[in-house]
Each structure stands twice: as C-alpha cells, then as structure tokens.
Amino acid sequence: MLIELLEKIFPTLNDRSSRQEVKNRLKLVLAHDRSDLTPQMIESMRREILEVVSKYVDLDADAMDFALENTSRVTSLVANLPILRVKPEFYTVKGMSEETPVEDLPEISIDESAIGDLQETSDLRNENS
C-alpha cells in the first residue's frame, strides 16, 4: 500500500523533470517540422477558422486552444474552441417572441375519450406490415 502511494506521489513530482520537459518540447517542435506548415500559415488558418466559427457561436477567447499535434507520424490540427453560446439568429428552437400577444394564439382543447387512439391504430398498422 505504501508503495502504491509512493508511486502515486512520484509521477506528479516527475512531471517537472527535464525528461518530461524535453518530451514536451520535442513533440511540439516535431509537430511543426513534420507538417511543413509555416507559422504564418498556421496563424492565418487560425484566424479564418475562428472567423467562420464565430459567425455561429460566441467563443470563450481566453480558453481557446489551437495547436498542431503529432502521434505516430500523423500531424493533426487540434482546436479546442469552448462555446459560450450559440448566436441568437441561429437558434433552432426560437424563443417565444414578445410581439405575439397570448390572445392571438389559437385555443387548445382536449378530447379525453380519444387519448391513445392514434397510437393504437399506428400499432396495428405496424403489426400488419
């Protein structure tokens, strides 16, 4: 138990080791080396992608992350764009707009005896087919 505890404690200490540091630096530099993308290209990609995404949603500018990553010699562009909210004009379910007065809405009535009828008929149809 003590040993497990030690092993749990040690990796967190090790994270600041020069070994971990060199691995992180290497991964970053190789992601760039391998992709053949210039910093300028990455920057304009970042700007254009943000432009497109921002048309639809508000982004959390402080928490955004945009980086090249590389595993097994495949480079990926990893963007983490936290969405604060969808822009109102793109709401799929529109909120009830205030201009429509409640009086103008058609009355809704209910026929208690017919509840469930529709489901029954559609069930029958399904069985027959």
């Binding site: 040993i3 080791s17 070994r19 290497l26 080396d33 595993t71 010699r73």
Partner: protein, 266 residues
C-alpha cells in the same frame, strides 16, 4: 542479391560509424559476407574504427574514375576475411560523387555480398543523398537528446520520401542512471516519438572509446562488454533472429531504494 542498408542519423557524432563497424564485424562473425562502404567522402573514419587505415590503397572515387578495379579498392579484414571495406576518398569533397554513380558501385557489390552497409555522413545534403541512393533499408541512429531526435525525425521523413520503407532505430549512448532519475529520455520515449521499429539500444560505454583507440570493434573483444553485446544483438536481429532487448534499467535508483526500505520495514 545482398541487402543494402544505409546507416544514417542527420546529426553528426551520434555513432553511425561506430555502429557500422560493429554491426559489420558482428555479421561477419556470423559468417555473412559483408562489405562496409564509407560514404563520408572527405571525412573518412570507418577505416580507422576497423584498424584498416594503413592498408587503404584505392578508394571508391578511384574506382569511379577508372583508376582501379572495384576489387582492388576493397580492403579485406585480416581478422575476418569475409569482411571488406570500400574506403572513401579523403582528399575529395562530397560533390566528387553523385547518386547515380553510387547506385552503380553498390549494385555491383550487392551481387557478391550478403550485406552492403553504407556509413552515411551527417547532414541531409549531397553526401546523404549519395549514401541513401542505392539503399533499400535504413538504420537510423540517434542519441536520447532533443537535437539528435529532431534530426533523426527529419531523416526518417526523407527516407520515406525516397522510398526506403524499411527502417530500424538504434538508440545509442543511453545512460540508464540518468533515465532512472528522469534526466534523460527513455528508450520508450524516443521510440514512441520517432514511431519506427526499434532495432537496438546501446548504452553509453567507455569501452567504445578504448576500442576506437585500438581500431578493434567491440564485438571482437574477448571479454564481453555491454555495448559490444548490444551491437551483437542488433546484428542478430538484423539477420532475422528474435533477440530480447537488454535490460538497461537501473535497479538501485532512488525510488527502488525507498521501495526496498518500506518493504523491509513492513
């Protein structure tokens, strides 16, 4: 047709020539017919590591210019007659040879030898292009240091681009004690980053320098050394044998000491 394998690294001084000499000798000890080709024109070293420097008469450049026949330029190792060296010219630059000429030379050698090992110069310019021109396989040598790994990565990309599909990785000069205290990348770290199959791991070993002084590859020495065994294992793997990797992890690092302390006291 023999196998044509280029030993390359990108970064200089990581152990290409040491690797070529030792693997060449180890394969010869396994009774393979081996030629080691020094493709480091202008900065030849392979003759020194093999202790053959005094017997070099002609070089690859002399063969290409028609000064001598190919077999006249080949230096036979006295200790192992089935190992020969094709020396590079020392007084010429890397531009005195081109890839087409290298292909010609090497295809002639591949007809006769089981293994043609080409010791590449550092860099990725003409000398490197010459060295890889005729190769169908590659051994990429690196050390567990950031600049060496980055250069190795670049070279791996270039090998792929040049249609050399089969590459093995050698991690040289690993220092287990430093790995244990997290001050050096481990074998797994480097292999994971470079993402090509691991062919072998060679520890940092003072005996390498002693063997260079004597012009006698480590695999020849009567008493086994860690680095020598590592090179022998690499040769066996290259030759198709399945050999376990040496366990180079340090057992008496701090963590295990603490572990031991607690296990004992419980």
């Amino acid at each position: 047709m023999g196998r044509v394998i280029v030993i390359t690294s990108g970064k200089g001084g990581v152990g290409k020539t040491t690797t070529t000499a030792n693997i060449g000798m180890a394969l010869a000890q396994r009774n393979r017919k081996v030629v080691v080709v020094d493709a480091d024109f202008g900065l030849r070293n392979l003759d020194l590591l093999l202790g053959l420097e005094n017997r070099v008469v002609y070089t690859a450049v002399d063969v290409l210019s028609g000064q001598c026949r190919l077999e006249q330029a080949l230096v036979k190792d006295k200790r192992r007659g089935n190992l020969v060296l094709l020396p590079a010219a020392q007084n010429r630059t890397k531009d005195s040879v081109n890839p087409a000429q290298m292909r010609q030379l090497i295809s002639a050698l591949a007809k006769v030898f089981d293994y043609v090992l080409v010791d590449s110069p550092a860099g990725i310019e003409m000398g490197f292009q010459n060295a890889i021109a005729a190769a169908t396989e590659a051994i990429v040598v690196t050390t567990p240091e950031i600049s060496a790994v980055r250069d190795a990565d670049r070279v791996i990309g270039l090998l792929e681009a040049n249609n050399i599909k089969k590459s093995g990785l050698i991690i040289n000069r690993i220092r287990p004690k430093m790995v244990a205290v997290n001050d050096m990348m481990s074998v797994d770290d480097v292999t994971e980053i470079l993402a090509i199959p691991l062919l072998g791991v060679v520890p940092d070993d003072e005996k390498v320098i002693v063997s260079t002084n004597k012009g006698e590859p480590l695999v020849l020495s009567g008493t086994p050394t860690q680095a020598g065994t590592a090179f022998e294992n690499i040769a066996r793997r290259l030759d198709g044998e399945k050999v376990e990797f040496l366990d180079l992890t340090v057992k008496d690092d701090l963590l295990s000491k603490i572990k031991n302390f607690f296990t004992k006291s419980i």
